[in-house]
């Protein structure tokens, strides 16, 4: 493998790591507050669908929503929704471009789903794992179903028009620095030329670390995941903190989902996230619920994915064809081995999975 091949492999790694990292950090907030989140996959899938669907609809349609006459009962029922989202999407779309409508829609839908899951897991004190399973099934069913009945393209959303998809960002002086040997190509190829969400994802790591370890909110968040009773005794609402965490989870999952359909891809396809939510969950466990190790775990799993794409059908000396399934299964195997304590030990937040009941 020459230098350029390695560079393109690492470049692909960054691109494939991004959604994992966003979802992984999303899960980190929720799980650190003591709410297990199996539903990362579902929220991403919802967001990917919403983003692509909202970005595919021309901005003028949102304008028409506002001017539409109510005739049927259904019209009257959906009128407040049309008013709110029509306004939001119309102005976002005409000021910034359709891709931002997609991003907004992705985040809003993911947030709403997170709140639904949160209501079940926090207020109603339901089983958090079952809530996550329900969200995942709901996403798998509803996205395909609505996609088919709205767009009639076998569950896919229509191809995005101009401005419907994120452009890659060229970092300053990419061409000039690119002339320098070794360092140049690394800057030009590897660091520059990604979608904005890639940079957002990697920036979110130090931000999360700061929030978690250097702010009052972060201290309380960690405390509520370990010992909610102590937090409650200190006069801080456990449920409110958990809702805040779940809201952050929803927003980050929204970004991760939108990345699939309006940055990496152009439009939504059936089951687009393809189990990445579970890989993110694995990465979170692998990182023992800490932000910076989470980044490295996601980079590792992203690298494995990039490697697997690259090795498809390639004959290696000595080994022969590497079965891609082995590399695909590796993140899961590693997580199982780690959880079993054969390499280190992953112990989650103590109060995770247990709904808090306030004493009277």
């Amino acid at each position: 493998m020459d230098f350029n091949a390695i560079l393109s492999l690492l470049d692909a790694t960054l691109r494939l790591t991004t959604p994992l990292l966003l979802a992984c950090l999303a899960g980190l907030y929720s799980e650190r507050s003591g709410v297990f989140d199996i539903g990362l996959e579902g929220k991403m899938l919802f967001a990917a669908f919403a983003a692509a669907a909202a970005a595919a609809i021309p901005v003028t349609v949102y304008g028409q929503w506002l001017a539409m006459e109510n005739t049927t009962t259904l019209d009257y029922l959906t009128w407040p929704l049309r008013l709110v989202f029509g306004n939001l999407f119309f102005y976002v779309g005409s000021w910034f471009g359709p891709v931002w409508i997609g991003l907004c829609a992705g985040m809003i839908v993911s947030l709403l789903v997170a709140l639904l899951q949160g209501t079940a897991a926090i207020s109603l004190r339901g089983n958090q794992i079952i809530a996550g399973v329900a969200i995942n099934s709901l996403a798998a069913g509803l996205t395909t179903f609505l996609g088919q009945s709205w767009f009639s393209q076998g569950g896919r959303t229509p191809a995005l028009g101009p401005g419907g998809r994120f452009e890659t960002v060229t970092l300053p002086f990419a061409n000039e620095i690119g002339q320098v040997p070794i360092v140049g190509p690394i800057y030009r190829e590897l660091l520059s030329g990604h979608y904005p969400l890639v940079y957002v994802a990697f920036l979110a790591v130090p931000v999360t670390a700061f929030v978690l370890y250097r702010t009052r909110f972060g201290l309380r968040l960690r405390a509520v995941g370990e010992n909610p009773k102590a937090v409650d005794t200190a006069g801080i609402s456990v449920n409110k903190l958990r809702y805040q965490a779940v809201i952050i989870t929803g927003v980050l999952c929204g970004l991760a989902g939108a990345y699939f359909s309006i940055a990496q891809g152009s439009g939504f396809g059936n089951n687009m996230t393809a189990g990445r939510g579970y890989i993110a969950l694995a990465a979170l466990i692998f990182a023992k619920w800490r932000p910076v190790p989470a980044m490295f775990a996601c980079l590792l799993f992203g690298f494995l994915e990039a490697l697997q794409i690259r090795l498809q059908g390639v004959d290696l000396p000595l080994i022969g064809q590497v079965p891609v399934q082995f590399i695909q299964a590796l993140p899961y195997v590693l997580t199982v081995v780690l959880l079993a304590g054969f390499i280190g030990k992953a112990v989650g937040p103590k109060a995770g999975g247990v709904p808090y009941t306030k004493e009277r």
Partner: protein
């Protein structure tokens, strides 16, 4: 505040699931209405598709067979306080055990092949659940996370094996050789032409046997008692001299073996070969079935039948209303899981209050409440 009385048992097993199901159906109906179709017409089509004619009944029973197996798998683990999300992967791996036996012995008679295939499927499925059980019992890793991971490992492993081992040369799709007549589970249509071309086969009786076996095992054996004690209170089980770690491993193995029976229905009964992703989400439906059936065999049989109706009716619905694809059924299934499993708290408190109104203690309490107490 007066202490809440738990609602009566009969309401807990009938009224609550019925209310949750009704809510799930209402929400699904709203979704159908939202895309401009008539939900009542949809229900009519579903019911006709599921019960209206022999083929439909056959398909309904065929789906229900799968759901009984996965539902029982989830339920028996739930009795022991374990949540087995891995029925999907366990059934998939069990396909391996079933197909090995079937390909090996398919020149003999099905009376030889099928019982051995059942053993093979149970062994492979059981093993795939035993490992997470072992890891929880001995190494302390959570069975939920491990079984999720094992679903994905199973998928990768099976695709690899199909590709490298089972695929005959010259076949483009990922599938094994077709099993000869001697390796197939006989179809019910061979005995009753009523079932038309539907794939319902003798596995449906295996499912009924499994229901009875699980009932006897959970409520009428020492092991069943031990696992229920552990599910209710692991510490008490420990003090009573039961080995929790041994129980976890046994229960998970049984659970996996039950999930593995899906392979008998699918591989030996319907596909007649091992195909990629033959489990197709039945393992996850099992979660909904177990939740709705309150982990009791009778409940599971009814819930499995209900989902069989929804699946078969949903297929029918696609033809009548092209806009309503069969994913609608996945939505209903998800809502059932959400309302019966995670949002149980939605109806229970109000039901408890409603039942309080009719309880004999109510009068006493009402009197106590209205009598000014001297302490405050």
């Amino acid at each position: 505040m007066s202490a809440r009385r738990p609602i009566p048992k009969w309401a807990d097993v009938t009224l609550l699931p019925a209310l949750n199901l009704a809510l799930a159906l209402v929400v699904s109906g709203l979704v159908v209405a939202m895309i401009g179709e008539n939900p009542f017409e949809a229900i009519q089509v579903i019911l006709y598709g599921a019960f209206g004619y022999g083929d439909g009944v056959g398909y309904t029973l065929y789906y229900a067979t799968n759901f009984i197996f996965t539902g029982l798998a989830v339920a028996i683990a739930a009795h022991a306080g374990l949540f087995n999300i891995g029925a999907e992967g366990q059934a998939y791996i069990a396909g391996l055990g079933a197909i090995i036996v079937a390909l090996w012995l398919d020149q003999t008679h099905w009376l030889i092949t099928v019982p051995l295939a059942i053993v093979g499927a149970a062994a492979f499925g059981g093993f795939w659940a035993f490992v997470p059980g072992y890891l929880q019992a001995k190494r302390g890793s959570h069975v939920v996370i491990t079984t999720i991971m094992f679903n994905f490992i199973a998928a990768a492993l099976m695709i690899f094996l199909l590709n490298r081992v089972f695929k005959p040369p010259g076949v483009p799709s990922l599938e094994s050789r077709i099993i000869a007549e001697g390796g197939r589970v006989p179809q019910l249509r061979q005995f009753w032409s009523y079932f038309g071309y539907s794939p319902v086969n003798l596995s449906v009786f295996l499912a009924i046997a499994a229901l009875i076996l699980v009932y006897v095992l959970v409520w009428h054996t020492k092991l069943g008692y031990a696992l229920r004690v552990m599910g209710q209170n692991p510490t008490a089980a420990r003090y009573a001299g039961m080995s929790n770690s041994r129980l976890i491993m046994i229960v998970m193995s049984i659970s996996g073996a039950l999930a593995g029976m899906v392979a008998i229905n699918q591989v030996l009964g319907v596909n007649n070969r091992l195909v990629e992703d033959f489990v197709a989400g039945y393992g996850f439906v099992g979660i909904a079935v177990a939740l709705m059936g309150r982990n009791h065999p009778i409940g599971i049989a009814l819930a499995a039948l209900l989902f069989g109706v929804l699946y078969q009716g949903g297929n029918e619905l696609q033809f009548v209303m092209p806009n309503v694809t069969k994913e609608m059924i996945v939505v209903i299934q998800a809502l059932v899981i959400l309302f019966t499993g995670a949002m149980e708290g939605l109806f229970r408190p109000s039901l408890e209050r409603t039942f309080m109104l009719f309880s004999p203690e109510r009068k006493v309490e009402a009197v106590a409440r209205n009598t000014p107490s001297t302490e405050s």
